[in-house]
Point group: C2
Chain length 180, copies 2
Amino acid sequence: MNTKRIVFSGSGGQGVITAAIILAEAAVIYEGLNAVQTQSYGPEARGGATKADVVISEEPIHYPKVIHPHILVCLTQKAYNNFSGIIHPGGLLLTDSHYVKQERKVDARRVELGMYRAVMDKIGKPIAFNICMLGAMTRLTGLVRAESIMEVLETKIPVDFLEINKRALEIGLQLAETHQ
Amino acid sequence: MNTKRIVFSGSGGQGVITAAIILAEAAVIYEGLNAVQTQSYGPEARGGATKADVVISEEPIHYPKVIHPHILVCLTQKAYNNFSGIIHPGGLLLTDSHYVKQERKVDARRVELGMYRAVMDKIGKPIAFNICMLGAMTRLTGLVRAESIMEVLETKIPVDFLEINKRALEIGLQLAETHQ
């Protein structure tokens, strides 16, 4: 596997940092890869915008920041407006169709999925929206196996919320399946 | 303020990543500083060891990894054995006296506090041990104000656990106070 750079972006409460940590741990603990996960907070953090970077590689990782991500996920319009321009040419740009309208031309595979809507329809509250996104991203990219994400969920998520999170992961996997 | 580099290290379940994220957000959102927070996962992550880096600065931060921390916290003996050698000369090395015996000579201000014991005595379970550590570190260093940590706790911690976390922060502040 070549080194892959991933950016998750959205607003403070959407769990993008948690999603990035879960992805990194899945890659390292269950796939035998190396990973670095970074939050860079600047002035935009004070406006509630969040951006979390993950670098995954078979090799040691010397530069942890992500400048041009191969995979970019934007979960708010503001995140899309801020970050859609940084995607690596030919990368994957995944957005949520409830929150984001993809208005720009970008040199990327553009995928809009109704992740928020599906979570609200099937779970009834948005608490595992980030995990649904991870499921969709996993299925679209094959970056790590869904089973590896599931293993991390079992070690990190309090038992009362585990079923909901597993369900959200499945919803994301299915949404991306349908899309392909 | 000069740029400060901080490393929290311990085992997987001790919440060192969460502590690092809370510190970074406190610095950025309530102190007007810049911060970068990074996890670098290598083979040691598969053995349960965790290391979380934070860089805090008034200036933009170009290099997010921490090589020689000004402040190093080790919450397990293994973390101490792995990382005590990397501390910046003259830095602060904080350990928990229940988990770590400081056996090495290091060019640093060495502080051992009974954080785990105090949390177990006063709260009865170790769930906010990481927040107690943040309280102690804050008081020892003056890096950010305790009030800024408190503000972040209020936005991030589920309401049912907020009081316990605030209590743990206070316990850490007092422990460090007594030590000084």
